[in-house]
Structures are given as structure tokens and as C-alpha cells.
Symmetry: C2
Subunit: 208 residues, 2 copies
Amino acid sequence: MCPPALIPYKPRNPKTRLSSLLSLEEREQFAAAMLEDVKVVVRDAMCSPVLVCTELFDSEDVQVTISDTDLNGSINAILPQNVGPTLIIMADLPLADTASIRRLLSTEKDLAIVPGRGGGTNAIFMKEPRKFHVDYYGTSFLKHMKIATDAGLSVEVIDSFRLHTDIDEPEDLVELLIHGTGKSRAFLEDLGFALSVDKGRVGVERKR
Amino acid sequence: MCPPALIPYKPRNPKTRLSSLLSLEEREQFAAAMLEDVKVVVRDAMCSPVLVCTELFDSEDVQVTISDTDLNGSINAILPQNVGPTLIIMADLPLADTASIRRLLSTEKDLAIVPGRGGGTNAIFMKEPRKFHVDYYGTSFLKHMKIATDAGLSVEVIDSFRLHTDIDEPEDLVELLIHGTGKSRAFLEDLGFALSVDKGRVGVERKR
């Protein structure tokens, strides 16, 4: 059984909150490297990645679904068509590892969810996707918990910092340089990024 | 078997990075509330809390060790005296729950460690504390991994956002208001703190 793993992906002008550190071209390459890391662990966990894009995008090795509506509209159009277990996972989770994905997939509840930092939702695994719908943005974690409860679905919250840590802000790069093992960490290091320690607090610096 | 849980604790002028939101007295009360939350889950996980303070402090219900050296000196004076398994856990982890502590305690390795956000170390469980020593501040997680490797100790990194999330900065309060269940969340709510959503991003606001 290879459940589909829906991965929302924005290829153009992604990660604008990293604009102080990375050029537009670098941000697009970095987003692509993070996506590669997520695809690798999703496949290792025996899922089939499917990119969900709201703009034209071509991929050599992954199925791509393109929709002209927003993230919620795109996902909510797909879920009712899926008869079997389905995963939704964000593309900016380069600390994800196979073990954490497996914890999601092996839930005994109807649904397993991973909160992101700041109230977001980083991953959802649904056994019956037709009974659920998504509502991203804002405190989506709390909204998704309520949607599940209202639908009579039992929920497990997966306690994983690897899946909790989405890479949005400059300070998040610290986490990637400490805990990352894949292409996106290597991409940052190739650009000259390294950890810096100033007065006991850890940040990143770009050396070239 | 009730392993000691060493909890470093600073009763006076704690959490200075929250000074923009909380008065000195409120910060001391908030730190005490977080400590209470940690003590509850540590006891539920069958550990015996021992406060490690570098200034005089009196507690009615917990053993207190007072040392006039710094955090590293205090802990490193205690570890060689402990013959059995020992836990070190920070006092500012109000999202800790019994399940996450049990994952630490049930490791099959010599040592289990939980990284904190920004390269810190939030908890360490040692089966043979005499073989280990701590080196906090800066990228202590990486330092502790190296100390363990140099000592020939096998290590498990525990993947828990509940133990990863230390409460230091104003934005960390978002996590507590979403995922907290104990006294420290109630303390914040009693002060008038609530979640706020502005342009899709989640923060906290103080209403009174």
C-alpha cells in the first residue's frame, strides 16, 4: 500500500521571509532542495508524492496536480476523490525523517496531525480523506482539530520537532544547519551559511 | 525505581527576554508556574524532582540543591555522585507531557537527549551519569552529542516538539496558548493573554 502524499508546492517566489538572506533565485533553489528532502523521506516511508501547485510546474519524477484556486480549494477538491489513506505534508520540512513520517502513518486513530510552529499544520494523515477537509492559514492546527471533532473523527497529535519545524524565518536556518542531513542543508552550506554563536545565542551567518 | 530529575531553576529575575510583556514579578510567577507544570509531569513519569539553584531558594515539596557555581559547575558536581539513571530537564518546558518524558526514560541507548530550539539542550537522560558531563550554553546540543561520543556512550535523539519548545521569547507564548494544558497557560490567560491573528500570522496580545 502506497498512500498518496499530497505536497503543496510554490515554485515561484517562495519563502519571501528569507529575502534578507537569499536572492529570488536562491530562494527558488532552496525551496526545490527542501522539496527533494521531503520527497526522499516520503518515498522511504512508502508513500507516493503528488505535488499540488497553484501555478504551472513540470516535474520529471513526480505526479503534479495544478489548480487555479488557492491551497484550501486545491486540497479540498482532491480529498473527496481519494478512497484510501492520504497524507498531506508541507514542502518546507527538511528535517522530516522516515521515522517521524512512519509515526504519522501508523496511527491507530482516524486521523493524525502534526502542528507547525505558530499554530500551523505541517502534516495530516487521514484514513478516510472524504470525511475531512482542510482550512489552512492562521491557527489552522486548532481549526483542523475542530473539523476532525465535528466530523466524529478520532485524532492523534504527533509529537515531533522534526515535523514541527517548518523553515520560514532566518532563525529557522539554525535548526536546518544543526539537524538537517539532506540536500537543503548542503545547499545552504554551499552558499556559505554556517552557525554563529554570539553572547551564548546561536544564529546563522553567511560567509560569502 | 524513581530516578532523580535534576531541574535547574532560577527563581529571581528569570526569563528576561519576556520583559517587554511581563513585569519582574510576573516573570517570577510565570517561571514558578512553568516549574510546577514540569514537576507534575516528571512525577507522573515516576521521577523525583530535585531543583538545582545557584541562589538561595526554599521549596516545600521538592529537594533543593544550592550551589555557588554556574549551571555547568552545579550539574557536573552532582553527576559523579549519582549511581543510577538520572534525568536533567529544564524548568521552562511547560508543554512537556508524561508521554514525552517516558520516551526519554525508555531509551535503549546509554543516553537520550532532547535538543532545544536554537541548538540548546532541553533534557538529557543518562543511565550512567558518572560517565557524562554537561556543557550548556551556545550549541550545547552539538557539544553534548560530542561528549557522549567521546565517552563511548550510545545516544538516542528524542524527536518531540513538546520537549523541544522552551519558552524564552514572546513568540513562544503562542505555543503555550495553543498546546499548553497546565498552570503556566492558565497564568497567562489570567493575565489577559490570548492568541491574535494578523494577516494570517499568529501572535499573542495582552488584553488588560
